[in-house]
Symmetry: C2
Subunit: 199 residues, 2 copies
């Protein structure tokens, strides 16, 4: 486990009180094999983490700008009823999202990490959205929108990975590892949405 | 609609008897916006289609080799009970899979295409797997395995796109467009797996 110590409200990676994921380590290993995710990707992600560590706010600016430009995405952050974007909710999620970038680069894919992925899934799903931040926003993020975000979160990372002079082949390797790790997590977040037994 | 005329058994893109997709054109446009999929990608995919058109069998060899190497993926093609891989099923799917490569490059994202995506989703899901080919294989492909295949289907395409001398920037553009189009389809295929109202 590589869960960092932080004071970020609602951040629970490494919290032993989190419910365990129903996914077994063997099932996770199958998923990693499907994704062609291996030790080289773990190493490339660690390099990526050192490259982007001081650029987290700039990356979040890109992502938040994108979400704000897409009404169907910003909808997740709007007050139920009035439709006003909830600034405090956007801000609270942003702190966790920034830490998530570093965690994606540094996390061990173990039981503590799987439990945290399950919790992140719930926080997008009807069973857990809004609770962490005590807001009354839209009741869930539709799964199709959650899965589609893999693509902008992949593509927009590449320029940041290339910013500090890494060779093109190394940028390629870091970018592929990043994309695999993001898709892996989006898949894990889909679990609460799926009919029992079909995930 | 760009559905081709083929004699491939079980291929139904363009069949007016297919049930329509419940996804509206507006919902599809939102997904494309989330994926950063636009007119440049349509053009890049068309170029990709001309590049790979005579390499379909070589691409399928790579993909089938990968599936055969992963027991959790080959499981989809095994006879229920005996566990023997069903050769005729693998062969029938392969012909449609080859056509799917070309369709991914050339299809218009319209109602006929959406209906065909919905049908492809059903054919992986419990509600429709095995029927097209009249086999008694595993009853469904778990959604996590279906979604994870986006990554090898993305990564393994890149060398084929680079094979005929396109400039690196053009290969990048074709590869990004291909990946967006594959993820889009995998998302659409997820619909039958998802709890009503949460897709």
């Amino acid at each position: 486990m590589n869960a960092p110590a932080t004071d970020i409200p609602g951040y629970r990676y490494g919290d032993p009180l989190l419910a365990p994921s129903p996914l077994t380590p063997a099932a996770l290993a199958e998923l990693e094999a499907s994704l062609l995710f291996g030790p080289d990707d773990v190493a490339a992600l660690k390099r990526a983490g050192t490259i982007v560590a001081d650029r987290i706010e700039a990356i979040l600016d890109v992502w938040y700008g994108f979400v704000a430009s897409q009404p169907h995405l910003l909808a997740a952050f709007r007050e139920h009823g009035t439709g006003e974007p909830i600034g405090a909710y956007l801000t609270a999620v942003r702190r966790r999202f920034g830490q998530w970038i570093l965690d994606t680069c540094n996390a061990s894919h173990d039981a503590a990490w799987l439990a945290w992925q399950e919790e992140i899934g719930r926080r997008h799903h009807r069973s857990g959205k809004n609770r962490t931040d005590g807001v009354n926003a839209s009741p869930y993020v539709p799964l199709r929108h959650l899965l589609a975000l893999v693509m902008p979160i992949s593509l927009t990372m590449r320029p940041f990975l290339a910013e500090k002079g890494a060779a093109p082949a190394e940028v390629d390797a870091m970018h592929a590892a990043w994309t695999k790790a993001v898709l892996l997590q989006a898949i894990l977040w889909a679990r609460p949405y799926v009919t029992e037994g079909e995930f």
